[in-house]
Symmetry: C2
Subunit: 376 residues, 2 copies
């Protein structure tokens, strides 16, 4: 009989994430038995007819091996790293014909999913306002500082701001994608995603290489909600996808929270509706969220810190300089010196040392953080 992990991987490639039929058949037979029956040519509830053409193209062992070579792991229920809160999806009511616990998750990055500390989802509109992204970043930083892991979807707007905020708060943050964890979607967030892969974790139900589709975003949203103790919606127009994540949170009976905004701002309308209807509780800052997700004080016993990374061993002046080096647009040493509050000569010397550790890079116009540097 095929190994359960291998069978789950194979089955995940035969259907779409969140497919209810596959989930029910696995519940009935177990993944290994189901896969073996399909391989043996047996037509279970008509499933083989649908997937027969694809069965021959599936090479789960090879997938696993290739992924491992790229630092990507496949975790399944029963694994030590499997995040147990996901299993609540088994009993949550389906939404738009999607649901169920993921067959498994692809993970890229050093952060183990069984060690997430009081994870909270922060989601919202792609077309966010400056107000929205400011609030999301502030919230992400506040949650991170309090030891909460910030979960989001790496999209433009609120998602990106939440991840960035968590990094600025020197905490952990996890991106759940609707495509393979090796892909940068959106492409403009490649640096952010690489950084998360280096320091935290990127997660997906989809195998490396898979492209995002509309239905995959919907399935992905249930994973964001289910990985988290609660979800905060920061700006969501009336038809925003963030409201789908909100619905999953309610279905999981976990706290749904909303950040209000000006009533004259369309991107806040969806949030106001959630609060007005009683579906969401109004929150204005990280403390409100921590209170509602029951995470206050827990960080003492469960520090949410990424594994050791290059900057942990830096001297204090090195850290000061590193914090003053811009992420994107290169800066000259005297500008960095001003920000860091140190002398230019010392800054030049520290920059060279930091470059030797791969943390900063020198361009013709000045210095900036290296692609995969820890800059939180």
């Amino acid at each position: 009989m095929t190994d359960e992990r291998i069978a789950r991987l194979a089955l995940s490639r035969l259907g779409e994430p969140g497919g209810l039929r596959m989930a029910h058949m696995i519940d009935d037979l177990g993944a290994a038995r189901l896969y073996d029956e399909l391989l043996a040519g047996r037509d279970l509830h008509g499933l083989r007819g649908e997937v027969a053409g694809r069965l021959a193209d599936i090479h789960p062992e090879r997938d696993l091996e290739r992924a491992a070579r790229r630092g990507i792991r496949w975790i399944v229920p029963g694994d030590a790293e499997w995040p147990l809160p996901l299993d609540d999806l088994d009993i949550a009511e389906p939404l738009q014909q999607l649901g169920g616990t993921p067959l498994g998750l692809w993970v890229r990055g050093p952060l183990r999913l069984d060690t997430l500390s009081a994870p909270v989802a922060v989601v919202g509109s792609r077309s966010a306002t400056t107000y929205g992204t400011d609030v999301a970043a502030e919230l992400g930083a506040g949650l991170a500082r309090a030891g909460s892991t910030v979960i989001s979807g790496a999209a433009f707007g609120i998602d990106q701001a939440a991840h960035r905020g968590a990094l600025a708060g020197d905490g952990t943050t996890v991106a759940v994608l609707a495509c393979g964890v090796d892909r940068a979607y959106p492409a403009a967030h490649r640096r952010l995603l690489d950084h998360l892969a280096e320091r935290c974790a990127i997660v997906s139900e989809l195998a490396p290489g898979c492209a995002p589709t509309r239905v995959r975003f919907l399935s992905r949203n249930r994973v964001i909600a289910a990985l988290s103790r609660g979800t905060v919606v920061v700006e969501a127009a009336v038809r925003s996808g963030a409201l789908n994540t909100a619905s999953w949170t309610s279905r999981l009976h976990r706290p749904l929270m909303g950040v209000p905004g000006p009533v004259t701002s369309a991107p806040s309308e969806g949030v106001h509706q959630l609060i007005r209807s009683g579906a969401a509780t109004l929150v204005t800052r990280a403390d409100d969220v921590l209170e509602l997700t029951g995470a206050i004080g827990e960080q003492v016993s469960e520090p949410a810190r990424a594994p050791t990374r290059p900057r942990d061993s830096l001297t204090r002046p090195q850290q000061q300089v590193l914090e003053a080096v811009p992420l994107v647009r290169p800066a000259a040493p005297d500008s960095i010196a001003r920000t860091a509050g140190l002398g230019v000569a010392q800054v030049r010397s520290e920059l060279v040392g930091l470059a030797g550790r791969g943390l900063v890079e020198q361009l013709p116009t000045g210095w900036r953080l290296a692609e995969a540097a820890g800059h939180g």
Copy 2:
């Protein structure tokens, strides 16, 4: 035995509005009996000792007569004009040692308090932001257009914007003051108050001439809440007086509503707390308020219109011109003509006609609305 109306007037001058002891003694004995006992020198629960010095200075008949000459009336429970919703104060739990149904109300203006249509209080911070006053004015206008009477306190900021909005929506609005209805408090709102007295109503528990005090503001807030079917708070910092009106609304078991704002704005903090705690429902526009106060559709059978006023008999072009005349800063006829969409010659002619009715006035720099003109 002294007439009940006269007795209530006299007793109201002996104590402060919202005084619980006086209210309880009137409940026990009736106002006429209580006043007569005091006049006869009987010391009821020590009350005479406190008020004896003032008894000789009280001349209720003369007060009534003087007020009537100035168009100010005194209404008491049992009068046809008495607004029955006020009587709920009899059973509401006291707040800061204040409470009880008013002994009576002084009213200045043509609007009868028993004909208020689906009244809604709109209150908030004196130190409001532009966002807050814009939202309050829009809300006041929307409520007014839907036929609701807007109740507020004529203060700077949100109150003023709510009254102005109701007038702009061509509706009715009532100011409840913490001083005599003949006084302009704040002084900068004299024109607004005179306008309300001309067209709508100004209300107070305090006799003409009385000055505002801190405790009178607190008592006044309970009247705002009790006159209204519900209260909307638009911007209120954590220690804002508007939260006192909010508490009264909750004590009266009437809908308490709050308009959210940016979480970065201190004047919205108090409102967010009310919503977050569940004390207030989030509303974003007049329709939300109408739905919660059960006022939708009622305006059809209960039109909320002020009594006949000069402008009701105007021709359509006269109305167009009147609507184009500024309230404060005078404008030249050609500017008014552009706004009204009429020819300058016709506008000049209509302006003269309107001045003849006392609706507009000519100043060296142009035309503006006359002090007491109906400009809604």
